[in-house]
Amino acid sequence: MNVPAARPLVEVQDVSKRFTPHVSIGERIAAMLGSPVETRTVHAVDNVSFAIRKGEVLGLVGESGCGKSTLGRVVAGIHPPSEGRASIEGVAVMGEGRTPLKTTTRIQMVFQDPFASLDPRVRIGDTIGEGPLAHGLVAKADVQAYVARWLTAVGLPAEAAGRFPHQFSGGQRQRVAIARALAMQPDVLVCDEPVASLDVSIQAQIINLFLKLRRELDLTMLFISHDLGVVRHICDRVAIMYLGRIVELGAAADIFERPRHPYTRALLDSVPKLVTASDELVTFKPIQGELPSPLSPPPGCHFHLRCPHARERCRVEVPRLEGDPQPAACHYPLAP
């Protein structure tokens, strides 16, 4: 593993992302006439900051609706943040303006569903080659060899370039998607659940591919997943998200062995484990209740409704992400 450099490569500073659904003309008129219109703004990401050092793999873990995918897309420059900024070596990922555009090619993204992330009507050679061509990373005459090189790098035959996505299995498509991202020669890869839709045996192949590419290309990664086993396996550090906020951040081993936030603890306890002894008693300690709606998150600590340790202060005051080296956003963190 690499010795992390002093200055973080990727910095995410006070990023918030809100989605406000389109307000129809009728509703706008109703609002002008004084009728109460309910606000439906979703705070998908709420004031999040973190950094990724060069060569590091940071895991971003959370349940559905916690905002991890949105945060990944902000970092990858697909969504402009509502507030704050994501930058790579101090340069913002997104440009300025009313409809800002991504300005860097140094961050690329791999998506969860390789059936959706490849244009079904484009041959995969063109899918891989078009970005590098558009950005002058390769001359038109050399693009075929260039594509072949990246296909080989992800374990696909070079002649695959002439085929369409539907002619590949899920695992092969994910390899294509990885080749497309890598062909842009990025420093950082944002991976949004890249193995979640794959079968177990194929998942292992793709995880091994990530491990290999990381060693060979010195890649920095933001690895988003709900699968704690996968995250533990390939991440150096892990950030746990709950309802738009990071609640705990630390080295992977520490997070998994000594969680400080009650939510992290509960998440770890919820994961089913392989039962290999017949007398083993399977006991879960499931978290009570459900994820509150991100439309109306509870005040104070977002987790207090489900937290076994919640006290009065948790209902009122938002806890800050504090502590070193394993900060946790909790007023009463668990003892190690």
């Binding site: 991504k102 998506f111 244009d119 079904p120 497309r180």
Partner: protein, 292 residues
């Protein structure tokens, strides 16, 4: 099972519907006949020097004064009706396809860009289109044809204006769906220019519904052109389209000389029905909800 291109797979499935294949054959046959009408039609109906007024309004099968058999009879000017229909089809199809094609390009581009950019641009474009769709196309085309005057290109302009909105609305709907798919996000994260994302990725994936609309709209613009020409607002008399042939024969309908109107009408109906049958099959194949 795993043919290389989506087109090949589409054709494999299309083949299973015999009616649609027959309809496609009819469309292609009529199209080809119309295209090569100058080569095959017995008479050049535009060549006034060849017309014999004595042979006007003769019934089908009449052998003309110059020994020439008029299989579908003759019209009021003594034109051979079969030739006139072939030439009329040529004009009608030409106008319909060109107008449909331009409306396709303009409408699809507008709709796709509206969906891609969203926000105020989208709101502006789509409100104009909604407004336009609230008027009947025939009314709009009538007004425009009257304003722009006679001739092929003014007529095409009127038809395009009356029809691009259908393409725009369909393209907007389809593109909005495509816009939210991961492959578009992947293009954004590369990043690729907006023009490239729209034309290279979004629009090709919107083609299925647009092709369905295109078949319907080409049939519609042929019918619309015929209507306008019937009303005398379409093409000039020198280039008689099917609509004008029908109009010309209309006054003789009650005097028993049915063929002057009926045969062009039959040609028009066969063409439009065939195009619609092909369109129906394409729609059935492309609509995932009807798929088994």
């Amino acid at each position: 099972m795993d043919s290389a291109s989506p087109v090949a797979r589409f054709w494999d499935e299309f083949k299973t519907n015999r009616i649609a294949v027959a309809a496609l054959g009819v469309v292609l046959l009529i199209g080809t006949l119309a295209l090569i009408s100058p080569l095959i039609s017995p008479q050049n109906p535009y060549d006034l020097s060849r017309l014999v007024l004595m042979d006007a309004r003769r019934p089908p099968g009449y052998v003309g004064s110059n020994g020439f058999t008029h299989w579908l009879g003759t019209d009021a000017q003594g034109r051979d009706l079969l030739s006139a229909i072939l030439y009329g089809l040529r004009i009608s199809i030409q106008v319909g396809v060109i107008a449909g094609g331009i409306a396709f390009v303009v409408g699809a581009t507008l709709g796709a860009f509206a969906a891609y950019f969203g926000g105020r641009i989208e709101a502006l474009i789509m409100r104009i289109i909604d407004l336009q769709l609230s008027f009947p196309a025939i009314l709009l085309a009538l007004v425009l044809a009257a304003l722009l005057g006679q001739g092929k290109w003014p007529l095409i302009a009127a038809l395009v204006t009356a029809q691009y909105a259908y393409f725009a609305r369909t393209a907007h709907g389809a593109a909005s769906t495509e816009r939210s798919k991961d492959y578009v996000d992947a293009a954004l994260s590369t990043p690729l220019a907006a023009r490239r994302v729209v034309f290279r990725h979004i629009l090709p994936n919107c083609l299925p519904p647009l092709i369905v609309v295109a078949t319907v709209q080409i049939a519609n613009s042929i019918a619309l052109e015929a209507t306008l020409s019937f009303l005398g607002l379409g093409l000039p008399v020198t280039e008689p389209s099917l609509g004008m042939l029908i109009a010309n024969g209309f006054q003789y309908m009650l005097s028993g000389r049915y063929w002057i109107s009926i045969y062009p009408g039959v040609a028009l109906i066969v063409l439009i029905v065939a195009i619609n049958l092909v369109g129906d099959q394409i729609r059935d194949q492309l609509n995932p909800r009807l798929r088994r």
